[in-house]
């Protein structure tokens, strides 16, 4: 019965438009009251849920991303990507994907990536005769790459949701091959659609140009090296390297590029505060929700239920993927990571799935959910950047969904794609 109260209140509030964080918080509050337990625990979980040192990497990475967009680092990365792949069929589509690899590798936020890369690419693509929906589609789906490549704060959220016992460095490394695989399949999809529609080709700009743009974008690329090298080698923790990312982005934009004005700095700071407060409040409220799930033994019953359905790990993984995709269609990423990890991770490990591998599956899966209606933050951002209705984007997006889903299947059933690279470091 208490589960009906918990999920009933949650769904009702969600449907009447209550912010997700408060749906989680208020439904936990209602359930505690129903159980006759002291409600103080809801607020204690909320407070402890946000008072975790490892969470600090999230505001820092978001802050660094905002500084890079406002301080010209993002634009230079896009220009470099253009020199590499702009001459291929559907060239600017390819540039869009590759930009996400480079910028997403720095920012780790799909929404930041979609707004940064989309804001730069969509107008250019329109101008060169590409359809807006094509531009938006590719901007939206390729921003999932940002979630897979280090540093991804979603990997940090997952590690914390799993009890803080999964190495963040391993998760970061595990996302790399799947991230590049996704980039590859999306570039193929972009090429295929471009060919069918007869989109224009740009001339190759030459190696000299690549060299020039490389030098101009180098500080941005160095940032990737610092973050990944620092965390992977174990010299820095994720929180420390995210902090270094902020300091470095400030130094580069203030002193090297001289591209960041005081106003830009203030705007970047306030934007980071808004995004972070939103994400972390969800995490805090989900801690209350998660406490109730544990208290009412939901994870254990979920394991039993799924074990009753099948004992074949392939089927179980497929079921988990379907459930996550469905949930991801309705809800946003960070709350879903925090809510589903304690439930599904025990199921997955009971069937012999490595927790690091499962993290990659989970994030790719929920990343696809960010791009799908009815609630897809990244889809909304993409449509806002392209100024087109959601429906116009979704009508023609299926080749890109197909590429992402195909990648998801490969990543799910070939554990080595995720686990091979981390194993090299052990």
């Amino acid at each position: 019965m208490e589960l009906y109260v918990l999920f009933g209140t949650f769904v009702f509030l969600l449907l009447i438009g209550t912010p997700v964080a408060f749906c989680l918080g208020v439904s936990s509050f209602a359930t505690i009251a129903y159980l006759g337990l002291p409600p103080v625990v809801v607020f204690q979980r909320l407070n402890s849920g946000v008072s975790v040192f490892a969470l600090m990497a999230i505001p820092f990475f978001i802050f660094a991303g905002d500084l890079m967009v406002r301080g010209d680092i993002a634009r230079r990365l896009v220009a470099l990507a253009g020199a590499f792949v702009g001459h291929l069929r559907g060239g600017l589509g390819q540039v869009n994907v590759l930009s996400s690899v480079m910028f997403g590798g720095v920012s780790g936020s799909a929404a930041a990536d979609a707004s940064a890369v989309g804001g730069l690419m969509v107008p250019q693509m329109k101008e060169r005769g590409y359809d807006v929906d094509y531009a938006v589609n590719i901007t939206v789906v390729s921003s999932i790459i940002a979630l897979m490549l280090p540093p991804s704060h979603n990997m940090i959220i997952y590690s914390i949701a799993a009890g803080g016992r999964i190495s963040i460095a391993d998760l970061f490394t595990a996302g790399i091959v799947p991230g590049f695989l996704l980039a590859l399949t999306l570039m193929i999809a972009a090429w295929w659609v471009a060919k069918r529609k007869g989109y224009p080709v740009q001339p190759f700009q030459g190696f000299r140009m690549i060299g020039t743009l490389f030098v101009s974008a180098a500080p941005g690329l160095v940032l990737v090296a610092i973050i990944f090298g620092g965390v992977r080698s174990g010299i820095f923790t994720a929180s420390e390297s995210s902090n270094i990312a902020v300091v470095y982005a400030l130094l580069v934009t203030f002193f090297v590029y001289r591209s960041l004005s005081w106003n830009d700095f203030v705007e970047a700071t306030l934007a980071a505060v808004r995004t972070t407060a939103m994400v972390l409040l969800v995490i805090g409220c989900a801690a209350s929700f998660g406490w109730l799930l544990a208290y009412t033994k939901v994870p254990a019953s979920m394991v039993a239920l799924l074990q009753g359905v099948s004992d074949n790990p392939i089927i179980i993984l497929l079921l988990l993927n379907v459930v996550l995709l469905l949930l991801g269609t309705f809800m946003d990423m960070s709350p879903l990571i925090v809510i589903t990890t304690p439930i599904f991770l025990p199921v997955a490990t009971a069937f012999g799935v490595d927790p690091v591998h499962f993290g990659v599956i989970l994030i790719l899966n929920l990343g696809i959910g960010l791009c799908t209606p009815p609630v897809g933050a990244v889809l909304f951002v993409g449509c806002a950047v392209g100024r087109i209705p959601v429906w116009d984007a979704v009508r023609s997006i299926w080749p890109f969904y197909g590429a992402a889903f195909g990648t998801l299947m490969l990543v799910t059933y070939i554990p080595a794609l995720s686990l091979w690279l981390p194993s090299l470091f052990h």
Binding site: L14, G17, S51, F53, E240, N243, M278, V375
Partner: protein, 173 residues
């Protein structure tokens, strides 16, 4: 009614701006503290033991203040799809129910945050040496603003003023 509301909104607008700025200063302070910790640990080969608990506490402040402002500015993630199906008048009623629920949660943040602070007031926080009650101060302060801004939304709606929602452009004042 509408004019009174407009002057009230001016005050709450300033309050939100102030809270957002405090949160922004918090983010910058946190950046500086951790940067100092990194510098001390790796360059000076020494360690500062209070930067970590201090920055976790600052993080609490900017999350709860930023989250409260988010109610006013409408930047929290929400799910509006079902509401497209209902008439405008019903939608406004549902929005007000939702804001009331949020206000109720804000009251919980104040009330139970206070209880937690009272229970832990005599404890000393490791590394900082201050009372354990400080751990819950951001929760209480954020709660006060959550209640205030939620009530403001309901009142605005009653007065026929617009309220900001996720995915829409910000509503000025």
């Amino acid at each position: 009614m509408k004019n009174t509301m407009k002057s009230v909104v001016l005050v709450t607008g300033l309050l939100a701006r102030a809270a957002l700025w405090v949160a922004g200063v918090g983010l910058v302070a946190m950046t500086a503290l951790i940067a100092a910790q990194v510098f001390w640990r790796y360059i000076l080969n020494d360690s500062i033991i209070w930067t970590e608990p201090a920055s976790v506490m600052i993080m609490g402040w900017f999350i709860f203040l930023g989250a409260a402002v988010g109610i006013r500015e409408g930047y929290h993630l929400s799910f509006d799809v079902m509401l497209y199906l209902v008439p405008e008048r019903v939608k406004l009623i549902l929005y007000s129910i939702s804001d009331t629920a949020v206000a109720g949660f804000g009251i919980g943040m104040i009330w139970f945050g206070w209880q937690l602070a009272a229970k832990t007031a005599a404890n000393k926080l490791p590394g900082l040496g201050i009372s354990g009650a400080f751990d819950f101060a951001p929760l209480v302060a954020g709660g006060i603003l959550v209640v205030l801004f939620s009530i403001e939304r309901v009142a605005r709606r009653a007065a026929g003023l617009p309220t900001a929602r996720f995915g829409e452009d910000a509503v000025e004042q």
